[in-house]
Symmetry: C2
């Protein structure tokens, strides 16, 4: 892969010397570290950065960006490296800017239900820090990802149906612009009507408008009562219809996740779940007071029974619940374990809830016709679901067919008024759908914003916006 490196220009050589002078050993061209920063977990073709830089403060990020901007060298922010869409791949070379050492929890305002953390803090680290205070941070993608990465990709997870995504759960950001200026985007108030909403502009901008170095997440009180339930169904349609009726009834479920029978089989095997069958299944969780949880659960159980539900299996003890949700969060690994050595191609479509049956059953039929193993799993309460298409290695023809399947599933979702990505982002993998989803005019506005804020185009070039 060394051959793929862009050549060292005089400009780069001067930049590298300046970065080394600034950061010492935290500037590195070590081959193993560059390899580690050449890919996410998506299986897209990796590409080595010219160098890796480990920043430890906003000020350092500012100085790194100012130097790179002057040199016109690309900068690709890197957090936990758990991107599923190629966000962290330095497709045009340059610097991989690793923020994972920025791990300080700067303040926790228990009384205001918020906190401020550096970008490299992971959601698990934050929740471990909060637990004794009776608080939690609800946004929970499957992986151990950083707050910075979650903000950059507009992440969500299983709790979004009740608590919202990172967009609704971030009050303020600190962002470094391409030229090194540091912007504090908003204050930590619950709402504000002053000025353009820079926080939301940077959330989901995938490192292309600025580098997020600090975030101020909203926190929530750990609910008085929690109950989880697993509900298998006779048919996939019955499971989906249960979700739709639950959401339309306004029942405030905390989590409502669908696994089709293929994904369920994978999860049972991978996480050694006992007493479960490979049937279309909903994983549910209810938060509230004791009485509130009971009321919600009874309402959903009745809806499920009307739709071919085969009965709720309860998990009330914390240990059992954690085991179930660990299994759910490991669903992607479970899927991969179905075909060892295969690479995943993951769809992430979202549709209005009324179109969910058509979108899920259509995807299921596409998958069956394709011959691929591709479990379906998702945050169906939002209308969002994934299919993890398992592609044999070193088989370009199979890869081409897998992309064709991916495109078919996305095209249907877009035709139903949906979006190509509910939570993974665009990165490299979903760029081709952006025009169809947003239209030429919205795309032109996005390009205008990009050019205005990053005129030299150094910030994560080649991502999100199609060429």
């Amino acid at each position: 892969m060394e051959a793929a490196l862009s050549p060292d220009t005089a400009e780069k050589t001067r930049l590298f010397a300046a970065l080394e002078a600034l950061l010492g050993a935290r500037f590195t061209r070590n081959a193993a570290l560059r390899e580690q920063h050449s890919h996410g977990v998506d299986g897209l073709p990796p590409k080595l950065p010219d160098a890796v830089v480990y920043a430890e403060s906003t000020e350092e990020v500012a100085r790194v960006l100012a130097l790179c901007n002057e040199a016109g060298v690309p900068v690709v922010p890197f957090g936990a490296g758990t991107s599923l869409e190629g966000h962290v791949i330095p497709v045009r070379g340059g610097i991989s800017l690793d923020l994972s050492r920025m791990k300080r929890i700067l303040e926790v305002n228990e009384a205001d239900l918020d906190c401020t953390v550096e970008a490299g803090v992971t959601r698990q680290e934050l929740n471990a820090h909060l637990r004794d205070r009776g608080l939690f941070f609800p946004v929970d993608p499957g992986s151990e990802c950083t707050i910075g990465g979650m903000c950059a990709t507009r992440a969500s997870g299983t709790n979004a149906v009740r608590y919202g995504t990172i967009l609704e759960n971030t009050l303020a950001l600190t962002v470094v612009l391409a030229d090194g200026r540091v912007v504090k985007a908003r204050r930590r108030v619950r709402k504000s009507a002053t000025g353009y909403d820079l926080t939301r502009l940077f959330i989901g901008s995938e490192g292309t408008l600025g580098v997020i170095t600090e975030g101020t997440p909203r926190l929530h009180g750990i609910p008085e009562a929690t109950a989880a339930a697993v509900s298998p169904f006779a048919t996939l349609a019955g499971a989906v219809e249960t979700v739709i009726a639950t959401i339309q009834s306004g029942i405030p479920v905390a989590r409502i996740e669908l696994l089709d029978e293929v994904q369920m089989e994978a999860v049972i095997r991978y996480s050694r779940l006992e007493g479960f069958a490979p049937a279309p299944t909903l994983f549910l969780e209810f938060h509230g007071s004791e009485a509130g949880v009971r009321e919600q659960a009874e309402a959903v159980e009745a809806i499920a029974a009307e739709n071919g539900g085969l009965g709720f299996r309860w998990a009330v003890a914390a240990e059992e619940r954690n085991r179930l949700w660990k299994a759910r969060h490991d669903a992607a690994w479970a899927a991969l374990a179905l075909k060892p050595g295969y690479r995943p191609l993951t769809t992430d479509v979202i549709v209005p809830i009324s179109k969910l049956t058509e979108a899920v059953l259509g995807a299921k039929q596409d998958i069956e016709e394709s011959g691929f193993t591709a479990p379906i799993v998702g945050h169906v309460g939002d209308g969002n679901f994934h299919s993890v298409i398992l592609v044999p290695p070193d088989d370009p023809e199979a890869l081409e067919r897998a992309w064709a399947l991916d495109r078919k599933i996305v095209a249907r979702a877009l035709a139903l008024g949906g979006s190509a990505s509910g939570e993974h982002g665009v990165g490299l993998g979903k760029r081709e759908f952006l025009l169809r989803e947003h239209g030429a005019e919205a795309l032109a506005v996005m390009r205008t914003l990009k050019e205005a804020l990053d005129p030299r185009g150094i910030l994560n070039p080649g991502k999100m916006l199609p060429d």
Copy 2:
């Protein structure tokens, strides 16, 4: 006021002829109509537009903007004219673009809990349309305002503590750019991780980045049970502490509004409420199941009792509740009625909830020291409250002292980490605080965005961003 008009240049004369050719009688220079479009309800100095244009479709708005952009003539969007911060005042002349005739409800997707409406639909018209379907739109500023105006000013109201502001309750927008291009910002999905969040960029941009012609609000099911309560307190501090403890406990109150004894006296008199005393008072509302409402209400009642609450007075029947909330929504009119002929200067600060006691009691003391009558009322569950400073007419010295009081209240809120406006917006009235609140770097980014999207500066010039 005619004298204040900017002169008709040749450019303007050509523009007016083109607009008249396009719109016929819906282009007008009628004096009464221009006067009507010279002000909001804020009492700031009015200014006549050169002409008023009534648009009836997005396409017409696009053609009007393209013509105005070519001529370099300012365009000020106008909805219901209920702005409290001078948003609709054409301070640099030009066209007042009236969208109030764009009243079509384009679709209601009951199954997805959303709808799409033209910008001129008011929140009351939308709710009247929805009532028979068991749905409601929760964002409720005090006035009869339009969806377009609410989006443009990032409005909220009494329900925001439970249901969020217009920001959280808008899925998608149609926006016309300065040059007439029409942008569809996002699709009507619950979340999406594709592309920059243009919807949130235009929400709160106060007509300075584009003209919003359609919006897609989120809807909510009318709750199974609703109960309202009025709770007087021995002290203002006790009322505020009750709010803080309620929010910190995570009790999902639907509304929790504070009126100080001055505002309470005004409301009792204006709305002829019987059996209420002029004491610091909370107006509360609880939504949920029968049991859930009871549970929430009992929890808050217990907190109030600990803080000098003098007992809940219940309003469960819809008629009685509506009467109470009508009285609350009329609080600004009630305040004005305390001093007939006086003009209001309204603060709209918001602070983190932990700072609410300091902010409210500090404002109260400032008001008492000033000698002005200035009732305090607000959406305290969010940390947001208003003081309506009543200023005698034709008394420049009093006006100067009123501004000094306003600045003192805002300065304290900013020092406490708050924002100068929770929901009214910046407009003309809050421009001077923008730099202190956001800092020079964030302000520079806002200017960059403005210049990128409106290079000729025709969109609502002189608003929001300080000169």
